[in-house]
């Protein structure tokens, strides 16, 4: 598996794809009505605002020379009405803008998050978690402005441009054409910078992702960093990571900021051109008032054009994020429900491996032809050296990975034919390293079965010998804990995770080095309770402690991805094979004390 680390940019596989924009637009579809209404209101508003120059033209050309005070007052009144209308339109627009923008963000983020839940271990294992986090939280946020302000602005601006051109045409056609002369230059320029800009923003999103990943990992590993007094080294690395983000940013804005000056220069040249044409070529056919009003419109004409240019900028920028978001949404889960997957009915707990072979893509096989059938209620101990494939076997039972060939069956049903959730919800897995969610201890145990009552939680804790230390804490089950926290020792975390697994009341229980950090006495006590708990459950146990292993109904000795011996402790000891050798060597080691 190729893994990514914080300072490696994630390669993007797709080229600039207009479809991603179309997909984005899909998110806006439910708000079509609202968008149209908002745009109409905004047009009304800009129409009202646009009356300004016309009113002034009338005032200067007509009312003032004629000394018509009443007419002036009428014009003023008219404009007052116009700004009131504008005000109301603006109010509505702000409301719609926030609702539409926020709703789209909500939906997009939800889709992204929900999809992440379907992705398998390999996705999470192959990149720093900070890089996933940045997509769900920060990238999506970066789109919010484009989706709310941007879309509405650009539609409104497009219409404004049309309306203004209309006004201009009404005044004079030839001058309007003169005013348009700068337009091709602008288009040309925008296309010219597009490629450079897209690259710059992609670079930026990569650097942002790297930086986030580094911060995130630094936080998670803070204890190691402090223990090894490596702060200065890390600060140096962070400085570099942070600096490449800064450079990428500057590169981006250098290009982006070019747009505005270019537009301003083109517009001033256009205005000059219009003055010249108005005065020389059209001599006499344009009134002074018309010319003044016309120039007023040109300024107004370039404003929305500049906005549209900026919108284009924003889209290029957003694409860098959008690509990443859709890339994640499109990531095919390595493990997924079969198209017609059924629900696994309540199981008895029989587990069969039928010629199971497993290995990662392009790597040596980890399991070779594993075969066994475990009867419901049996306890199986998996024994073997580190890396022999024990954990892989149990990962296949929960279908955390899929077999390369062969099948895994529960109660005779191939687990690939049933839904993941119906399979996994009937299993209790205690992972090698327990994860503690931030929240109370109660919540953490209850994670195993969300509708469990407090009593049931306490019951489960008692069964795994966790009740004593929990109730000794100041706030007992309500004590707040978190992942990085040092509130709990490793042994205590394991006990909590154990209680969590038991609370799920699973038919199949999987304990992967579940008790490695627990002291012998607690473990002994645990074992007594465990015997009852294991009754009626099929359990798979990986442990190094001999006591745990000896009590199992069957022992699988695994070596090089195969089950080389199996049987009860006594049978295997009689056989005098690998297991008995291991056992005796350990015994000797202990005796030496």
């Amino acid at each position: 598996m190729a893994r990514n680390k914080f300072d490696v940019d994630e390669e993007l596989e797709s080229a600039f794809d207009i479809n991603q924009l179309k997909r984005m637009v899909q998110y806006l579809k439910p708000f079509k009505g609202k968008i149209i209404l908002t745009v109409l209101l905004m047009l009304l508003a800009s129409g009202a605002t646009l009356t300004g120059p016309y009113l002034i033209k009338t005032a200067i050309d007509d009312k003032i020379p004629n000394g018509d005070v009443g007419g002036l007052a009428l014009l003023a009144g008219f404009y007052l009405a116009a700004i009131t209308v504008t005000g109301f339109c603006l109010k509505y627009r702000i409301r719609m803008m926030s609702q539409i923008g926020q709703s789209v963000i909500l939906q997009l983020r939800k889709d992204l998050f929900a999809h992440l839940q379907t992705l398998s271990f390999s996705y999470y294992d192959s990149r720093p978690h900070g890089k996933i986090l940045v997509r769900v939280v920060n990238y999506v946020n970066s789109l919010s402005d484009l989706l709310s302000n941007g879309i509405i602005n650009v539609i409104t601006d497009l219409f404004s441009v049309l309306v203004i051109v209309g006004f201009m045409l009404a005044i004079d056609v030839k001058m309007t054409l003169a005013a348009m002369a700068g337009f091709p230059f602008l288009i040309g320029f925008i296309f010219f910078i597009k490629t450079a800009q897209r690259k710059a923003w992609q670079q930026l999103s990569n650097k942002q992702s790297n930086m986030n990943a580094y911060i995130h990992e630094s936080l998670n590993g803070i204890k190691v960093t402090q223990a090894f007094a490596r702060e200065e080294e890390n600060e140096q690395i962070f400085r570099e990571v942070s600096n490449s983000y800064r450079s990428a940013w500057m590169k981006g804005v250098k290009i982006q900021f070019l747009l505005w000056p270019v537009i301003e220069n083109i517009s001033v040249i256009t205005v000059s051109f219009v003055y010249v044409t108005g005065i020389f070529w059209l001599n006499g056919s344009v009134t002074a008032g018309e010319l003044v009003a016309f120039v007023g419109y040109i300024w107004m004409f370039w404003q929305p054009l500049a906005n549209i240019g900026n919108f284009y900028n924003a889209i290029i920028n957003a694409m860098a994020y959008l690509e990443r978001i859709f890339e994640t949404i499109d990531e095919e889960p390595a493990i997924q429900n079969a198209p017609n997957a059924g629900i696994l009915p309540p199981i008895r707990g029989e587990v069969t491996f039928d010629h199971v072979v497993f290995g990662y893509e392009g790597e040596k096989n980890i399991l070779e032809d594993v075969n066994f059938t475990v009867n419901p209620g049996d306890t199986i101990a998996l024994v073997g050296a580190t890396g022999s494939g024990k954990t892989t076997i149990i990962n296949l039972i929960s279908r955390f990975y899929d077999t390369k060939s062969g099948s895994v069956r529960v109660d005779g049903i191939n687990i690939k034919t049933v839904t993941l959730s119906s399979l996994r919800s009937q299993m209790g897995v205690m992972l090698q390293d327990p994860f503690i969610f931030s929240g109370t201890i109660m919540d953490n145990i209850r994670y195993g079965r969300l509708d469990a009552t407090d009593e049931e939680v306490i019951e489960a804790s008692k069964a795994v010998q966790a009740h004593r230390f929990i109730s000794e804490m100041e706030e007992g089950y309500e004590t707040e804990v978190n992942e990085r926290g040092t509130r709990l020792s490793s042994g205590q975390r394991q006990l909590i995770s154990f209680a969590r697994a038991l609370l799920a009341d699973p038919k199949i229980l999987i304990l992967d080095e579940a008790t490695s950090s627990i002291d012998t006495e607690t473990e002994m006590a645990l074992q007594k309770g465990l015997e009852q708990l294991l009754e009626g459950r099929t359990s798979f146990i990986i442990a190094h402690r001999l006591s745990t292993i000896q009590n199992a109904d069957r022992i699988f000795f695994i070596d090089g991805g195969r089950i080389v011996e199996e049987g009860t402790h006594n049978e295997l000891m009689k056989k005098g094979g690998a297991y008995s050798k291991l056992y005796l060597s350990q015994r000797r080691a202990l005796e030496a004390g």
Binding site: L80, G130, S144
Partner: protein, 573 residues
């Protein structure tokens, strides 16, 4: 901010210059209208247009430069802020991390930083620019016609009033948005970090539910803020529009009366944007300022967070190759919960102390106090006769190499992970450490050997493999004090035996702390401490403790009981 003074000063000067230049074009427009269009002085047209174009070019170049200048300055500001925050995060002690969620810190390092960036890069100069434009316009208008100017700026106090109201109302909404952003960050962050548990328990729907609640709340908080904008921004906008009404009415009247020329009115008209725009912008800028304040406060809080564990003035860093350790009547509480009581013991240089006892007895706390991850509430922890509080913290920690119970590996190569504490270590040194930790064999079998990148938290490796990498990481340091906290719990017994054999020679020269559950791991120690509920209940060497037939003996018996209970009936002792 002080470091950026010169840059900001230059920037603001350029802003002023541009604001001044902005006044010129309307003036030229006015001249064109007055002198050329109405006055018929066509020869002036070329000059005026030439000026207009030249001014625009100069203006846009300057504007581009100062925009970049402000961007650069703002990048420097947040670069420094990030650097300071990062350094602060490295200093903060475990108590801080016990109560702070990762997502909350991430929010400060990303979302809040963005608010600061936006403010310094854009809002600051927009404010200055708008104020300048407004003032210039007013001054300019005054020189043309004072009464009309006065009439027009009469609306300003009303605008100021509404702007003020908006400012105070919008502030709390931004605080809530950013708080919610932190919560959203946390829920996503934990979901990603805990993805294995989520899948193992098939709790995806529950997770989506948890997330959706925060996601919705984030939307609501944003909309709440928009409600305030909705209330004030249109009012501010309309008030800015009133200026035009005043101009038409009062200006027109004055022209009719003859106290104002029509050309002057045109100049006013062309300057009206300079009054209008700043007033329109006021609302948006206020939003930005308030958003900035809400975020800056949080960043400042974190910057001002004082580490509970810090160097005292006397910080000393003796360089010694062998160190003794003493605990004298040490008591430690976590909040109000007693964790350690009256712990007293001493270790001579080169000796090995083993600590055994039930889960949660306080074993790890003893070594955490030694490395000063926490400070004792009373009593003294001394290393080489000196209270650890007087040691330079980093020097103390460099003298203690620790293998932690809770293993964290970084998403880096195996080599990078082993060399974590000594980044300039040679490949030879790394390999040697790996060999001592019995890790070399399995690492060499990996397709990419020491260059294999392991995932965050070491996923992809088994528990035992991670423990051995973590052991190699500590051994590489060759520090005088070695702490092994439950180092081999996930390693199979055979490997453990081999590790112990190689460690034996390493340990001879070091002061060593071993926390373990297996008697086999501790029996050779010079001193064994049996801990229970934070107290030392038994102490001595293996043989002494067995003779006492106390707790240690029981544990020993239990572990050997495994053998007794089955076909090995003979006495093991």
């Amino acid at each position: 901010m002080r470091d950026y003074k010169s840059g900001l000063f230059l920037g603001f000067s350029l802003v002023l210059l541009v604001a001044g230049l902005n006044m010129l074009n309307p003036y030229f427009s006015g001249r064109i209208v007055d002198d050329v269009v109405y006055g018929g002085k066509i020869e002036l047209l070329w000059v005026l247009l030439g000026f207009m174009i030249a001014v625009t070019m100069v203006k846009t170049v300057i504007r581009y430069s100062f925009q970049l200048l402000f961007e650069r300055t703002s990048q420097r500001v947040i670069f420094t802020l990030r650097e300071q925050l990062y350094a602060r995060l490295n200093e903060l002690d475990f108590r801080f991390y016990d109560r702070t969620k990762t997502g909350d810190i991430m929010a400060r390092m990303t979302g809040d930083m963005e608010a600061v960036r936006h403010f310094t890069a854009w809002t600051t100069y927009m404010i200055v620019e708008n104020i300048c434009v407004l003032l210039f316009a007013i001054v300019f208008m005054f020189t043309i016609h004072a009464p009309l100017t006065l009439a027009m700026i009469a609306v300003t106090p009303v605008i100021a009033f509404f702007a003020y109201r908006m400012s105070s109302e919008v502030r709390p909404t931004f605080s809530e948005i950013r708080a919610q952003f932190a919560r959203l960050n946390s829920v996503v962050q934990e979901n990603i970090s805990g993805n294995r548990v989520v899948k193992a328990f098939a709790k995806e729907d529950h997770e989506i539910g948890k997330f959706s609640a925060e996601n919705k709340a984030f939307k609501e908080k944003n909309i709440q803020s928009a409600r305030v904008w909705e209330k004030y921004l249109p009012v501010l906008d309309s008030l800015a529009g009133v200026l035009l009404v005043v101009m038409i009415l009062a200006g027109g009247f004055m022209v009719i009366q003859g106290s104002l020329t029509i050309g002057e009115l045109v100049v006013f008209n062309s300057l009206i944007w300079a009054l209008n725009n700043p007033m329109r912008m006021a609302g948006w800028l206020i939003n930005d300022v308030q958003r900035f304040i809400a975020s800056a406060e949080k960043i400042e809080d974190l910057l001002n967070e004082q580490p509970g564990i810090a160097n005292t003035l006397s910080k000393k860093a003796p360089a010694v190759s062998e160190l003794s350790v003493q605990f004298q009547d040490v008591t430690f509480r976590y909040e109000d919960e007693p964790v350690l009581s009256n712990i007293t013991f001493g270790v001579k240089p080169g000796q090995t102390v083993a600590i055994v006892g039930p889960t949660g007895a306080g074993k790890s706390t003893i070594v955490n106090l030694l490395c000063r991850f926490y400070d004792a509430d009373s009593g003294e922890v001394k290393v080489e006769g000196m209270n650890v509080k007087e040691w330079d913290i980093r020097s103390l920690r460099r003298h203690t190499a620790m293998v932690m119970q809770d293993i964290f590996l970084f998403s880096d190569t195996i080599e990078g992970n082993i060399a974590y504490g000594m980044p300039d270590a040679t490949m030879e040194q790394v390999k040697m450490a790996a060999e001592k930790a019995e890790a070399h064999a399995f690492i060499s079998k990996l397709p990419e050997g020491y260059d294999t990148i392991i995932g965050e938290r070491g996923v992809g490796l088994s528990g035992g493999q991670r423990q051995r990498i973590s052991l190699a990481r500590a051994l590489l340091l060759d520090a005088p004090i070695l702490i092994l906290d439950d180092t081999t719990s996930a390693v199979d017994l055979e490997t453990e035996m081999r590790i112990q054999k190689t460690l034996r020679s390493v340990l001879q020269k070091k002061t060593c702390f071993i926390i373990a559950h297996r008697i086999s791991s501790v029996k050779e120690a010079d001193l064994i401490l049996v801990l229970e509920d934070g107290r030392i209940v038994e102490r001595g060497r293996h043989e002494d403790l067995l003779k006492r037939k106390g707790r240690y003996f029981n544990v020993f018996k239990n572990q050997f009981g495994d053998f007794d209970s089955r076909q090995f009936g003979e006495e093991v002792m």
